[in-house]
Subunit: 287 residues, 2 copies
């Protein structure tokens, strides 16, 4: 049985829609409400997610719920959060999010709810796909995904406990970090790989796309995430720019190492360099 | 019915073993012989590939066959080719390979067979895996893979026709390029992505491997090929170093573009940059 009464999901994209499906599957009986800005989006929610309450009225969606999850691109979160904060809220409301950057956002959203009955506590389930939108929502998106919670000095232990319980029920493995640790870590394992996939795609194909006819699984996998939504990723990379730039500088420095080995034809050094990368990559358990 | 009488495969790794399995499945009745240097490897071939003739005697393996495929790492090809050239060869023998670099190699191997009854003609099936070795050989490895043939002015049209037929029967789509065009193309769609996966792995994990606990599918896919065999890849990158360095310089230049957008906080330019990468990546048909 869940400690939550009802859940409000704000913005039904890939993550919001998958969240609604997963809650319906794994926490049956729990009321799920979905807020979408546009009428057509509200209508699509009713089609794709039978059983949820869909509306574009924030007050109607938030009233009485114990947990609200912000699923829009991070740049729109403060605006929606302020509209939520202006509504009548339940005493026990936790507002969380699924955003990929925490540094500035968590402080700002904590501030928005500081004078209300509710409290903000950041979440980041490490799940997604280059296929975005409600049409691609899946009930297994969070299965065994890492979910990073970013409590601060203002976070009540009871709220942290409830949020852990919620994500665990959805199938996640929980990690706790400060917002700053989160942004460093995620820059390395998500924002850097995303950027490198983009750079690989551009360097491989910008001059001549015909080489694509000869490509195989290596190109496909290495560049997959470059097919992700440009608007969403421009927001993420810009919001986390300090950590992303540091990670890219490190990549630039190992690229210089590689170019020097090739230039000087030092095959033995190249072998050690590749063996070090393999040893690190092999730490990831096979699926 | 095949125009080939019998096929000799030199070195039973992932590619050689997969070739033997695929021939047995798709060209039944054709004699398959496998040469391996070490006695234990010969024994493993007999275990894993029942029905093939396995030996470490080059003369025994090459005698009377109409097609020989060199499947060892490229740096060892000239040595084995010379030993083959010194044997009694069939009048219609075509020697080919599965190597990832063609520039220097094709000229050298053509030269080795120039004074013999046989002729060399380069092949490169774009198939592989980070899981190497005979134990990982698969009968579907070549299914719908691009196979690049690299004829030269010395290539007889009849030989090119026979080699096309052979790879088509194994399930490949055929492309023809000069050895130089091949090396340019493959640097872009294979050697660059491989290098970038290595750089991403090192930049993400060299300082602190604990960030790996938060990684998801994006990191897994973007870095998959960095788990490949360091010996094999050191040989490939070094043999194709001129084209690989040019591709890495292009990647370095797009990386500077990205860093400048982040530095100057030009989110609109970043969005266009990511949208260009997405448009290029979306050219690849979904699987």
């Amino acid at each position: 049985m869940s400690v939550e009464r009802s859940i409000a999901i704000f913005s039904p994209g890939l993550l919001g829609g998958s969240l609604a499906k997963t809650i319906q599957q794994r926490m049956p009986g729990l009321e799920v409400r979905v807020w979408a800005r546009r009428d057509e989006a509200v209508e699509e929610v009713r089609q794709v997610l039978p059983g949820v309450i869909a509306s574009n009225d924030i007050q109607e969606v938030i009233q009485g719920v114990s947990l609200a999850v912000l699923c829009m691109p991070i740049q729109y979160m403060p605006g929606i959060a302020q509209q939520i904060a202006a509504c009548e809220l339940a005493e026990d409301l936790i507002v969380t999010d699924v955003g990929s950057v925490k540094g500035g956002v968590v402080g700002e959203l904590e501030g928005v709810f500081m004078g209300t009955k509710a409290a903000f506590l950041g979440s980041h389930p490490m799940a997604g796909s280059q296929r975005t939108g409600l049409a691609n929502a899946r009930g297994d998106l969070f299965h065994q995904a890492a979910c990073i919670l970013t409590p601060t000095v203002h976070t009540k232990p009871e709220h942290l406990g409830r949020l852990r319980t919620f994500w665990v029920k959805l199938g996640c493995r929980i990690q706790e970090m400060t917002p700053q640790q989160h942004d460093h870590c995620v820059a390395r394992v998500s924002h850097l790989p995303h950027s490198m996939a983009v750079l690989t795609t551009l360097a491989a194909l910008r001059q001549d796309t015909r080489v694509l006819d000869s490509s195989a699984g290596g190109f496909r996998d290495t560049t997959r995430v470059a097919g992700g939504d440009p608007d969403m990723w421009a927001g993420i990379l810009m919001q986390n720019r300090t950590e992303v730039m540091a990670a890219l500088q490190d990549a630039s420095s190992v690229m210089r190492e590689l170019l020097e080995m090739l230039q000087s034809m030092d095959e033995e050094a190249l072998r050690r360099f590749l063996a070090q990368a393999k040893a690190l990559r092999d730490l990831l358990p096979a699926v």
